[in-house]
Amino acid sequence: MAEVIANVEVAPNIFRLKAAGAFSGRMGQFYMVRAWDRYPLLSRPLSIFDLNESGIEFLYQVTGEGTRLLSALRPGDELQLEGPFGNGFPEVQAGARIALVGGGIGIAPLHYALRNYRGSDVYLGFSQNPYLTENFEAATTGKVLVNVGGIVLEQVDFHAYDTIISCGPEPMLKAVQRKKLETKSEADVYVSLENRMACGIGACLVCSVKCLDKRRKACADGPVFLAEEVVFE
């Protein structure tokens, strides 16, 4: 149980939620979140947007019933959090050239990643109004490229980086995979998947991801996978 201290609409249907408490979590990990008793049944997976001694933050888009209920939270309300879950983003060697590529609400986990990847270049793709780009500019010493209405991936030179990490809608992640293969880039390219989840801890197999060698669990083995490993169904 955590207390909501802020829940602000930063763009139409995009909310930034902060809850107080001592939470842990590495970049790229997520929490199973709920702010209701029994219905809807399942908790919603949300990536860590920010985390410090005073609390944890999420950035979420209202897309359905669960996120709609979250958007109604007021300071003082209670939030249930289970986590952190998932493998998170990889550790990289000092001096590695890193690109973070986010599409839409997929930018959420990239913000927290910048705490570790201070010098990364960040590519943010939005279909309409961009939001929180200034937070990204403040969080990195690298460049921040914002693309609205186009295809942000076109701006990323896959040969200019040692590690590329992407998070966004599935078509974008498929395109990332394709570009990695087509450019024969030597970069380690990662995708963070958003499969539907029920337990979040590896017990139910509803989040199963087909990979080249076998099936893995998005919640426990992922959500971060090497781009070429995933077989998009």
């Binding site: 199973m32 029994r38 219905y39 809807p40 049944l41 399942l42 908790s43 289970e82 539907r196 989840m197 029920a198 337990c199 979040g200 801890i201 590896g202 017990a203 139910c204 197999l205 509803v206 989040c207 199963s208 087909k210 099936r215 426990a220 169904e233």
Partner: protein
């Protein structure tokens, strides 16, 4: 303290709370969240003789007070289970139930035989890992076998008979709510020597994406579980427990201690909790505490007092 213990075919349950197959992995994940040895028992993820990939596409969809799943029995196969999970199971202090599924009669029988062989070996070395087999003749998410066995009593009879011959372990048959006649099905299991029946598995159900004009599931239908099914499941447990003399294990939509008492009053020996494990990852521990309190409040000294009272 009210007495919550129970026994089925010589297997002891500390309390009537057993975790349902497919919602609890093999216990490890929840074991890192609370002491699962407090539970009455666990049913492992459904096993088939050979490893199974499960279904493609969406595997979960929420409905008002329920969920549809289309996992399709993804599992590591019986051999990998015996190799990789039994050491862990051997160290647990609760009723350990292996859930066995299959596509063909031969697969079912060979799966049961392997579990039996392993159990006998482990018994001699004092490291028993499986106390009971739950035979799943009822998964709606696999095409061949699966549901077909679960619907027709006379087709199911052969599976039950052959498995009974293949194992000396206590045997519980998990029934499908999609069965043509669930009472006949349960009576058949009793005739063929089953030690218990458990019910129900998920209801065959559907969700259509109107924009794409297709089912959201690659496998077309999926299995409905959760509170939405409880009233129907409860009625089936009641009917079956009035008809058979072997223990009946009840499940479907349990979310509270009150729900558990309803099932016991309908005649269930113990109950299983499935979907609720996703709603509350510590559901097992919480339900045990709540049931203890509720029984005391209701002045119920033991579950035997109220079992089948309705």
């Amino acid at each position: 303290m009210s007495d919550m213990t129970c026994s089925i075919a010589g297997v002891h349950f500390k309390n009537p709370i057993v975790m349902a197959s497919g919602t609890f992995g093999f216990g490890r994940e929840y074991g890192s969240l609370y002491d699962i040895n407090r539970l009455g028992g666990i049913c492992g993820k459904g096993l088939t003789l050979n490893p199974k990939e499960g279904n493609s596409g969406f595997r979960v969809y929420e409905t008002p007070s329920g969920m549809l799943n289309s996992v399709g029995l993804e599992n590591p196969g019986v051999t990998a289970f015996l190799r990789e999970e039994c050491e862990y199971w051997a160290g647990l202090n609760l009723a350990r139930i292996a859930n066995l599924g299959g596509n063909t009669l031969e697969d079912y029988v060979e799966g049961a035989r392997l579990i039996e062989e392993d159990a006998l070996l482990r018994k001699t070395s004092g490291k028993q890992a499986v106390d009971m087999i739950e035979l799943n003749i009822s998964c709606p998410n696999v095409k061949a076998g699966g549901l077909a066995y679960g619907i027709k009593t006379e087709i199911a009879r052969e599976v039950v008979r052959k498995i009974r011959q293949a194992t000396t372990l206590p045997l519980m048959i998990k029934l499908s709510p999609n069965a043509e006649d669930i009472v006949q099905m349960a009576l058949m299991c009793q005739e063929e020597g089953a030690d218990a029946v458990s019910l129900v598995n998920t209801f065959s159900a559907m969700k259509i994406d109107i924009h794409k004009r297709r089912s959201v599931f690659d496998n077309l239908y999926a299995g409905l579980s959760g509170p939405a099914i409880k009233p129907i499941a409860l009625r089936m447990v009641h009917q079956v427990s009035k008809a058979v003399t072997i223990p009946v294990v009840g499940m479907g939509g349990i979310q509270s201690a009150e729900d558990i008492l309803e099932y016991i009053m309908a005649g269930a020996a113990v109950v299983q909790v499935g979907t609720h494990n996703f709603v509350n990852l510590r559901a097992g521990a919480d339900l045990i505490d709540e049931l203890q309190i509720l029984m005391e409040r209701e002045k119920i000294e033991s579950l035997d007092e109220i079992r089948g009272i309705v």
